[in-house]
Subunit: 163 residues, 2 copies
DNA sequence: TTCGTTTTGTTATGTTATAACATTTACAAC
DNA sequence: GTTGTAAATGTTATAACATAACAAAACGAA
C-alpha cells in the first residue's frame, strides 16, 4: 500500500489541486465498478462526486439538498441507497462520530483507515498504518475476540489549524 | 492502570454477578462526584443505573422508555442532559457506531478505551492498552496532528459467541 | 420481445438529538 | 428564615438522521 505519510493531511491546507482528487476518484470508481461487474449509475456517480466535493465529511442530508437543487425534489432513500452502494464498494467511508461520509482515496484494496478529523476546519484525513492495524489485531486476538470491522477516528487539530 | 486482560470480556458470558458491577459503579460514581464537587442527582444516578443495567450499550430512547415506565411521562432532554453529565464526568462512554451508551468500568482516570462490540450478543467490552494508545499517538504526532479525542470500536464476535 | 432482476421513485414513518423558554430546586449570603 | 443566584429539571416543539414498504421504470439476458 502507498505510503500515506508522504501525502497525508496535505489536503487540509487547500494548497492542492482538488480537481485532480475528484477526477482520480471518479476514474478509479468507474474502473473498479467495471472490473467488479457492478453498475456505477448516474445517480451513484453524482453522489460520489458530491461527497468528493471537499475533503470534509458531508452529511446525507447535505448531499440530498445539493441533489435537490440540481435535479428537483429528491427523497432521502435516493441518497441513502447511493451512499450504501458506495460504502459497499469501498468508494466512500462513513465517519461514525459525525454521521457523515467522505471519499476514499485508495479504494482498490480493502482497508480500515484511521481518520484524523480537524475540529477547526472540519477536514478528515484518511491515514493507514500497518503497525496500528497489527497492534489492535494483536490485542483483540489475545482476548479471543474475532474482529470484523473497525472504527478509528481521532478528533483534534490538523497541522494547518494548529499552527 | 489495572490490567484489563485479566478481567476483560469475562462479563460477556453472564457468568459474573452483575449486581456487583452495578453497586461498584454507583458507589464509585458517588465518591467521584463528591470529590469533584458536582452533584449526582437522583435523575442522573437513575440514568447511570439504567445504563449499567447490562453490559450492552443502551440507546437514549431505551433509557427514556424505562424512565417513563417508572416515573411517568419523561421527555428526551431529561435523558440527554443526564447522559451528557455522565459523559462529562467520565462515568459512561458513548459508542459512536451504535448511537448508544455503556457504563465506564474505571471512571477514576481519564482514558480513551477500545470497545469490543459483539455482533451476536451485543455486549461491549472496554479494553485498555498502552501500546495501542502509544502507537496511535505516535502516528498522529508524526503527522503534526494534535489529537484530542479518540474513537476506537471493533465489531466482531466475543469469545462466548465465537465458540 | 419477454421475463426476471436491479434500480429508482414515492410516501410515510421511525429513530436520534437539540433549541428555547418556563419552572423548580439547591445552596449560600444576609 | 428570607432572599438572591445558579444549577437542575420540566415542557413544548422541532431539527437531524435513517429506513420500511410498495410502485414504477430501466436494464440486460434469453
Ligand atoms: Zn483534494
Ligand atoms: Zn479509504
Ligand atoms: Zn456486570
Ligand atoms: Zn471507560
Amino acid at each position: 500500500m502507498e505510503n500515506f505519510d508522504t501525502v497525508s493531511l496535505s489536503f487540509c491546507g487547500g494548497t492542492h489541486n482538488h480537481k485532480n482528487c475528484v477526477t482520480t476518484a471518479l476514474d478509479e470508481a468507474e474502473q473498479l465498478c467495471i472490473s467488479r461487474g457492478v453498475r456505477l449509475t448516474d445517480a451513484r456517480k453524482r453522489v460520489l462526486e458530491l461527497v468528493w466535493d471537499s475533503h470534509n465529511p458531508i452529511g446525507a442530508y447535505d448531499v440530498l439538498s445539493k441533489l435537490s437543487q440540481e435535479s428537483g425534489k429528491t427523497a432521502p432513500p435516493t441518497v441513502y441507497r447511493a451512499l450504501d452502494f458506495l460504502l459497499e464498494q469501498g468508494l466512500i467511508h462513513r465517519i461514525e462520530s459525525l454521521n457523515a461520509f467522505v471519499g476514499c482515496s485508495h479504494p482498490k484494496e480493502e482497508h480500515s483507515g484511521l481518520f484524523l478529523i480537524c475540529k477547526d476546519c472540519g477536514c478528515a484525513a484518511e491515514v493507514h498504518d500497518a503497525v496500528i492495524d497489527k497492534t489492535i489485531l494483536n490485542k483483540t486476538d489475545a482476548l479471543g475476540f474475532k474482529a470484523e470491522q473497525r472504527v478509528l477516528e481521532v478528533r483534534g487539530l490538523c497541522p494547518d489549524c494548529v499552527a
